[in-house]
């Protein structure tokens, strides 16, 4: 049972830090809305299990002026791919 974990709050809310503690094999992370600021701030990344894929919603990166300072481990995706990722994982966990 894999999960797609969505992070929508900025690093100061520490949702990714909580989420990281509960990741299983095959789980992925999607940064969107204010969650994209994680990408600009390497200090705030918690340790993730090896092989955890991290995606970022492109629209939100562009809006915030971050498209040029994307962390190398983040793969930018569009809404079409967001929907596909929701299907490819067994559930979506939104860290509100």
């Amino acid at each position: 049972m894999t999960s797609l974990h969505t992070i929508t709050k900025p690093p100061s809310a520490a949702a990714l830090q909580s989420c990281a503690k509960f990741l299983s094999e095959g789980d992925s992370i999607l940064l969107l809305e204010d969650g994209v600021y994680y990408s600009a701030d390497a200090n705030n990344w918690p340790a993730l299990p090896l092989g955890t894929k991290v995606y970022g919603l492109k629209e939100d990166f562009v809006a915030r002026g971050l498209s040029k300072i994307v962390d190398r481990q983040v793969e930018l995706v569009d809404y079409a791919r967001f929907v596909q990722l929701s299907c490819e994982h067994d559930k979506v966990v939104s860290w509100l």
Binding site: T8, L32, E33, E59, Y79, V83, C87, V92, S94, L96
Partner: protein, 129 residues
């Protein structure tokens, strides 16, 4: 696949309402089914029909209304969230002599059982808030 979406945030106060709308539109483009939209907490304001939005901003409530009506989607606002936030239908309006209706015609008021039902009968339940 069969999706249900839960929206916890009001438009303009949080981006999540717009994200959910965009996601819902993309679901339909890809041929997925939306089993139910459930507006919860501040999310009930997405189903207001009294919003007056200036031309240069996205009218999120209207876009929800069109999406729901055109695709005949089951759209529910949670009764306990809606009434105390001033989102009411004709029945509540009459009962309390309020002479006004704020709920969009495309949504209806129902209980949390509809959220539990959606979690059971959908392949995916996605939360936005």
């Amino acid at each position: 696949m069969k999706f249900s979406l839960v929206v916890y945030s009001a438009p303009y106060s949080s981006q999540s309402a717009a994200t959910a709308l965009h996601f819902a539109q993309q679901l339909l483009i890809q041929g997925h089914e939306i089993y139910r939209l459930f507006f919860f907490g501040d999310g009930v304001h997405n189903a207001s029909k009294l919003a007056v939005v200036s031309q240069d901003e996205t009218h999120i409530q209207q876009q929800w209304d069109s999406l729901i009506a055109e695709n005949n989607i089951d759209s529910v606002v949670c009764v306990s969230s809606a009434l105390k936030r001033g989102i009411i239908n004709l029945e509540e309006s009459n009962r309390h002599d309020l002479e006004s209706i704020s709920l969009s015609d495309s949504s209806e008021i129902a209980g949390l059982g509809q959220l539990i039902d959606a979690s059971i009968n959908s392949d995916r339940l996605v939360n936005f808030g």
